[in-house]
Symmetry: C2
Subunit: 280 residues, 2 copies
């Protein structure tokens, strides 16, 4: 998939390959986070004396990362969605004109608040090395958290590409459901239980393969650094449902752009002609 | 290993376990970097219009990360060594009084310049997806590079703990070699060819296990995302030799502290008594 070549972006085969590859990144990041304790103080608001900042230790470090990364165009990329949009700064790099593939409102589909909440309350306790605090590992925890959060966010918001591809492939059927605001109907249309089962089965195997030292495979009670069953549960209970939420949120608004296009056509394409005339 | 409990830090078993665990982190990071092309422009000095900065794109992003991470005490930790010491800022977190385990000059043992040079010239070409440029992936490349560089740096500078543990366990034998400035003798003393072979064998297996999708293991010509042989070569040609360089550099100066201690004792421990008297 190459965001500079739009025809490669909405190809369902490419989307699938990208999602499968993201599984490795997410599992690696969970394994790295599993070195440290749950460290709840990292997530408590105003637990530490951070000057001119209202939020948690993780909030501060993640927002600082996003401020730096925005200067190198991270959030210009169609597949990156910030957790703290208000801290982003202008890039000093030349602008990349990504061909637009998603609907005009795609950037407004942002479930990162939910991802952050679920991650700190549900996911960290499942992957951490223990439930307590480790005062000398706060930074390491938060840095591992950032990798986990950014890879989860990218995977979940990839749902916008899935939704756009389905909008194109499903044609009238999905347009009718959108017009009727039939959320259940849309969910049923975008759900493929067999694909979901395959994802979960693959995660179980990947969790075992990546989480255990292969040279220890013949030793007794070899334990994976993160229980593969926990990885499966995270995907089943959070990642897949949140991806669907992104897809439904995206699709429910999808006709907005169509209405704008119709209005443009009804005005004889005046707006388009004006924009491309170079007169403004 | 717990840096707050000095007795756990110079335990050779703990040091070994930490080094083995770092293998996973380094391999994961190589695999993540392998998604992108070599992107030489990321490493070229002043290739991009970065305001008020003289260096490469990677230099800028890595130094920005280090400036942020120093504020959360990253480089207070005994096992973290910065690539850009001059950008570090004061932490806003309460200071952690790590019990001192290494010699007083340990922070001056810093081979990060060599690591950065070897990484960009030798390691990236071996792990990248291709040799060309990918203009829209500069940021992703540099972020993956930072993870690789920081994990390599931590692994290589862990040689200071290995060296201190050997200084204690080898006693007079190593003191004599240091007095004679016998570098080859010291290298021979700190080298264990059998251990090195085991490391390389394990890396080959880990490279296969972590780099390939386990659900594809029965398909034809399944390729690891990073050739396991390349990982082994990187360790053999760069990581192990650079770790030894750190050990030798550390040991050659090790008697400096002893001389200081002798001087303190000869002055009747006056300095110590004065420092612990609370009169200053």
């Amino acid at each position: 998939m190459d965001f500079m070549k739009p025809e490669t972006v909405l190809d369902l085969g490419n989307i699938r390959d990208a999602l499968v590859r993201m599984e490795d990144t997410i599992i690696f990041n969970f394994i790295e986070r599993s070195q440290f304790y749950a460290s709840p103080s990292v997530y408590k608001v105003n637990q530490f004396p951070i000057p001119n900042f209202d939020g948690s230790f993780l909030d501060w470090l993640l927002s600082q990362h996003e401020r730096i990364h925005s200067q190198v165009r991270r959030y210009d990329a169609p597949d990156e969605v910030p957790f703290f949009p208000n801290v982003l700064e202008k890039t000093f790099l030349p602008k990349i004109n990504y061909p637009s593939v998603l609907a005009s409102y795609a950037d407004e589909i942002n479930v990162n608040k939910e991802i952050l909440k679920i991650y700190t309350s549900e996911i960290v306790p499942g992957i951490a090395a223990g439930s307590g605090e480790q005062e000398d590992n706060l930074g390491s925890c938060a840095m591992a958290d950032i990798e986990c959060l950014q890879s989860l966010s990218r995977r979940i918001h990839f749902g916008r590409f899935v939704a756009e591809a389905k909008f194109i492939s499903e044609g009238d059927k999905i347009v009718d459901l959108i017009k009727k605001r039939d959320v259940e109907g849309i969910e049923a249309l975008i759900t493929n239980a067999e694909v979901e089962k395959r994802i979960l089965d693959r995660l179980l195997e990947k969790g075992r393969a990546y989480g255990t030292d292969p040279t220890l495979k013949f030793t007794q009670h070899i334990q994976s650094k993160v229980k593969p069953e926990v990885i499966v549960k995270i995907y089943k209970d959070f990642v897949i449902p949140l991806t669907k939420k992104v897809e439904v949120d995206y699709l429910l608004r999808r006709l907005e752009d169509e209405e704008d296009d119709d209005a443009t056509q009804k005005s004889g394409g005046y707006v388009d002609r004006f924009l491309s005339s170079g007169l403004y």
